[in-house]
Point group: C2
Chain length 552, copies 2
């Protein structure tokens, strides 16, 4: 006989879900027991649900298919919510299995009883289902996988009552193959071609699935042939970059800078991306960042095949045989002297091997990362898609599980690292090849900027203390050692390079605590000049107009 949990396990594996990131409780014990019935399901334990969900996100970004999570009722889902939010915003497929009380136990309102579906709707608006019986369970699971992995990818939540899991009579099934995504229709492609040929300045804004090599190459052919600028969305789910790949300019986080980036364009063509809006609202400032004079077109929406759509556009423009401009190989030299955030990024650019996976949640400390790794060997970059910090370390766990042969380098701010520090333990337990670099500047540095940007700069001591995490300064190397991860604290460029070199030549989990000054020290109250100083690091030569605008 096959119980619900065993049949569910087989259904997941047969549907291509072969990893489950778990933080189980009593109501999930039959699912746990069923793990041994299915040799092709790998279970990776996390000590906190936010690690499990962030790992499922990172896994799917790199594996191109969903993992499952195993969460304990509404509270477990709550703990996992922030990183599921990041997955939702990044259109990443995840299949949540959320255990619930037995159906007949619900009316008794026991301690852990809560309304799981309300919570789930926040991150899985497209698929929330409580499986009603063991007979229906496997079809429910197959539907969840289908929902999750379609284009656009999404978070699907299957709520699994304990008795549905433990009862006999499960019948495994399999999610059908995903249908191929449609290509943009002729009228849409023609419209985009006309915009590009109009004589006005045009840009392609690439997002979602469109930042992978095949799509980037198609876009770069158009750029080479027609002089179209290539933009990437601010926080890509996954972007392939480095030497030999087309360089793409990311829309800046700061609205002031994004507005400058977009200021010269007459046409903005969206490819699996949305028109740029400000991350936050600021008093008296616009939320929508595209200038009135710029016309926005959509070539491919997230449910369409962006590579095919761009290739058709290239053909229509006669660009299909153009030679795309690609990034030449170039690395910065080794960092020297007292450590700064920029020198940490320099060490990464100096040493990162081919096919590395870079996870960037360094916030202000990572400002120079893009510039200093632009010509490094080709790599994937994963970023904070939904703004819910605490994504980086768990994402690194998932990426390393998905790609055991590729080194993962996670660059993480000190504030952000603390939300999901438990990820370090899973790295040790699974012996994952992840080097976590923590920028320890003892501050929520970005919030010092934001305090000023929202016009609250006359803040007093109590307010400032809320952004200061220096009392006590966290010792991340001890924290990591406490969770079984090899760790070292560095404070010079030489030490940094040596530690990173050691980590990269000795596969397994490492943590490097980089003691750095606040990256924005001394720029308070003069944010704009700082913004502008970052412009020269963009891959695009500045136009005369733009140069004039930003002249001091």
């Amino acid at each position: 006989m096959t119980n619900g949990a065993q049949a569910l396990m087989k259904t997941l594996v047969d549907s291509g879900v072969e990893v489950c990131f778990t933080n189980p409780g009593t109501s999930e014990m039959h699912f746990v027991a069923a793990l041994d019935s299915e040799p092709n399901m790998r279970a990776v334990l996390a000590l906190f649900e936010g690690v499990a969900t962030g790992a499922a996100d990172g896994y799917a970004r790199m594996a191109g298919k969903p993992a499952a999570t195993l969460l304990h009722l509404g509270c477990g889902l709550g703990n996992g919510l922030a990183n599921l939010h990041n997955a939702r915003k990044g259109k990443v497929p995840v299949v949540n299995i959320v255990g619930d009380h037995a159906t007949y136990h619900v009316p008794y309102d026991a301690q852990l009883q809560s309304d799981i579906e309300t919570v789930a709707r926040n991150v899985s608006p497209g698929f929330v289902r409580t499986s009603a019986s063991t007979g229906e369970l496997c079809q429910d699971a197959a539907d969840a996988v289908t929902a999750a992995r379609g284009l656009p990818g999404q978070v699907a939540t299957l709520i699994l009552p304990a008795d549905v899991s433990w009862s006999e009579g499960g019948t495994p099934c399999k999610a059908p193959e995903s249908k191929p995504a449609p290509t943009a229709d002729d009228a849409t492609i023609k419209n985009a071609a006309e915009a590009i040929r109009s004589g006005g300045k045009t840009a392609l804004l690439l997002g979602g699935q469109a930042l992978r090599k095949p799509t980037l190459m198609a876009a770069a052919r158009i750029a080479a042939h027609n002089g179209t600028t290539l933009f990437a969305e601010t926080f890509p789910t996954r972007i392939e970059r480095g030497a030999g790949l087309p360089p793409v300019e990311r829309i800046a986080y700061l609205a002031e800078l994004a507005t400058l980036q977009l200021s010269e364009f007459d046409h903005l063509i969206l490819v699996d991306a949305k028109a740029p809006v400000s991350f936050f609202a600021y008093p008296g400032k616009e939320s929508y960042l595209v200038p009135d004079t710029c016309k926005v077109h959509t070539l491919a929406s997230p449910d369409q095949d962006s590579t095919a759509s761009l290739s058709r556009l290239a053909e229509m423009l006669g660009a299909e045989n153009a030679t795309p401009a690609v990034q030449p190989a170039a690395r910065p030299g080794p960092p020297r002297g007292k450590l700064t955030a920029e020198k940490v990024c320099k060490a990464v650019g100096h040493l990162m091997p081919e096919d590395a996976i870079i996870v960037d949640e360094a916030i202000t400390s990572g400002l120079m990362l893009n510039a200093l790794t632009a010509g490094a060997p080709k790599h994937d970059l994963l970023t904070l898609t939904g703004g819910a910090i605490g994504q980086g370390l768990p994402n690194a766990v998932g990426a390393a599980v998905a790609c055991p042969d590729r080194p993962v380098i996670a660059l993480i701010g000190d504030g952000t690292a603390m939300y999901t520090n438990q990820a370090l333990w899973t790295m040790a337990r699974e012996n994952l090849n992840v080097t976590s670099i923590i920028f320890n500047n003892a501050s929520y540095s970005i919030l010092n900027v934001e305090l000023e940007r929202v016009g609250a700069e006359e803040a007093g001591d109590k307010a400032k203390s809320q952004l200061d995490i220096s009392g006590p300064v966290i010792d991340f190397s001890r924290l990591a050692q406490g969770m079984g991860v090899h760790a070292i604290r560095v404070s010079t460029g030489e030490e940094m390079a040596k530690a990173l070199d050691y980590a990269l030549t000795n596969p397994g989990p490492h943590l490097i605590e980089a003691v750095v000054p606040e990256s924005l020290n001394g720029v308070k109250r003069k944010i704009l000049p700082w913004l502008l100083r970052t412009l020269p690091s963009l891959p695009r030569p500045l136009s005369k107009t733009l140069k004039k605008k930003i002249a001091p």
Copy 2:
């Protein structure tokens, strides 16, 4: 001029909300800036939202009034959800201030945009409101405070759009004094009196507010006069106990044992409590634990004055002048030899000073805590009201903020400690007088029991590995030192007693990592005998019937 945030701050303070546990982001910057406008608002920063919400819970349990939390949009609320669930189940008042995007920014669906209200409904079904304008904000806040602190206490969530916070025109107001709670009506009291006088065996089951001294004394008078047994709910929000207070027998976590406890009674009278149900459902076992032959009566519901209701009942029974039986003073001796979980509890019983606040989230390791502290100097005990683990360390933060003159001792399991380990940093930052004792047995020990209880005992290696957190064993003393907390690892009874004595005589944050074997080692596959062995530690002499039932 007064902006929304400043007016809100004054409204909160004038309504008695004087502490805010914060983890802010950009959308909350005006609230942060307004902290300096209000000297009577204390802001306590947490590095993770679950710490802030658990601290607000612990604060309110001890202060008897709500604190505020400051959370960052739906994701921040999600991170705080598990401990808000515990507060909801414990009927503890909490006022959440959840920042949101500016109202006009919402339609742009920026990265952090999500449906906050859906998430909030899980923990604040009674009060979720998004403030629509600066003019309405203070009344909204006063309504939230009123909703939170009424009887029964609840979690109220006020969503604060950034522009409502930053716009001018806020008018502070004040929540009205709470109305006195009503006493049970005469018919209800008479019904309870008749049950007690019926000649059958009766028990009072006390919960919620009814476990504080005045109510306990009223109940104990009835017990002394009429031979009524006193039970407490399984997981009290706050119970006053120790020498000089009436002993009360807690309903056991394990359904098998709870059923035995209740098996002899003809009448169960509920006082701010619900009839016992099983924590989880188990195949083939009952969820409802009261025997069919026992009649359940409600004397006072959670919205009523349980002390007045019980006092009236005592009068009706002629028990008002009875002398209540109280716990005699008695401490265990010092622990000696190789450390066990029981010896840790013994050290606590041996050393804890008068008026200590004990936070118990030790799960299996805390089994003997009740027995070994029964005659210790009077103290308050806070427990895991909602079953969402990760409550203990944050609760200790809040209790210490509420009662700076009382030592807090938090007994925490290793698995549970990891969910909200960031609480240690707040203890260091605020120099809180908390001694955290972590039972390090390198296992989700309770789940080994549960795996068996749900009938999944034929588990294989993969399943078992999901309950084993020994690879790597976490080094909690390093973890604590990494967050600035004085910490020591102990493995004998003598070391344990010495470390605890040092911590208690040197006020401030300390962590003692107690290396102990699994408390349930060797009892797998024979759970019932183990259950029964715990019975002699109950404060109630065993009846002959019960003795026969549990005879080996």
